[in-house]
Assembly symmetry: C2
Homo-oligomer: 202 residues x 2
């Protein structure tokens, strides 16, 4: 069985990626399990594509194995795309989800609802030791609210209402969210790319 | 005569700021002239507002004088707001205008013209040693082209066509550009704020 390293220790992301890659007979290793737990990839790219590629390539080089990375974030139009590639450290490197959400609420409160359009973006990169690379992007459009709702998901989920819904991602079940989420869609595209590349499902 | 430090050594920015502040009887000093030439403010904020404030506050603290800073950049919608706060170092810290423009053209070439909407943003911050702060934002909407045109301006100007025009900012005269540009508009707002604050023109 072919092993793939996932360039993260976030169990939530690993589980979502596993759903897509398992049928192809891949076995996943977290960054730590692959012995690369002490490598901290500096995410200084200006785009999700760059950061995703960087995370995948650096861990692939360190481990010599096929590596998958996800870079994702929230793009708010009225904030010029912020928090964007800074989504995880919006309130500073020591900030957590709560601090990030608090900061976002403060910035959005003066903005009318109709102008609070936003999207979640996920870019998944899969890199082989040969250098061959697949990249897939998924997006989900929506609006920001300024009062957190729901206990599900993580990150900015309690503030994000996907288009056509009146509930936040925090109020979605994991299955519902994965079906339409940015990461779910990027992974569906990656699945398609793997099939086109000739990988058969087991 | 009251001296103000401008948190930059970019003569182009200093000249634009001077046009607005001179009538109030302020005399401008560049960062180097104020003895702060060796201070390199780390621009790690997720928004123009944060970086602009940081640049102004750090140089104000180092010099003890009123300080003005500009943080500006290009926000391209189809690139999730990139290059955004990374505008100056889009192609890496060693990149120059040419490398940045080359990278942007590469990303935009597959995108239809109608989807290449963008805006230039400038946020000017003025900080007093008392901690009092004024902040003004200016924007100019437009479209990106994928062939550089014109020798004027700097940065992404040769690729940016402001709304209602068919010429790039690179094809504008400095006076024409200043009248409608992001930095021009931010400075006009700062002018207004200074008047409201009780500063009289000389």
């Amino acid at each position: 069985m072919k092993t793939i390293v996932v360039s993260t220790n976030n169990q939530h992301k690993i589980q979502e990626i596993e759903q897509i890659t398992k049928p192809f007979g891949f076995q996943l290793l977290s960054k730590s399990e692959a012995g690369a737990g002490d490598i901290d990839v500096v995410e200084d790219g200006a785009t999700f594509e760059e950061n995703s590629r960087k995370k995948a390539e650096e861990i692939m080089k360190a481990t010599g194995k096929i590596t998958i990375a996800d870079d994702s974030g929230l793009v708010v139009d009225c904030l010029d795309g912020a928090p964007g590639v800074y989504s995880a450290r919006f309130a500073g490197v020591d900030g957590d989800d709560e601090a990030n959400n608090r900061k976002l609420i403060e910035l959005l409160r003066p903005v009318p609802f109709a102008e609070r359009t936003a999207r979640f973006v996920s870019v998944i990169t899969m890199v082989w030791p040969s250098g061959e690379t697949l990249q897939a992007r998924g997006e989900v459009e929506g609006h920001m609210v300024t009062e957190a709702r729901g206990e599900g998901g993580f990150g900015y989920d309690p503030l994000f209402v996907p288009l056509g819904s009146d509930r936040t991602f925090g109020e979605y079940s994991p299955e519902e969210k994965n079906a339409i989420s940015h990461r779910g869609r990027a992974l569906q595209k990656l699945h398609q790319l793997l099939v086109e590349k000739g990988f058969g499902e087991a």
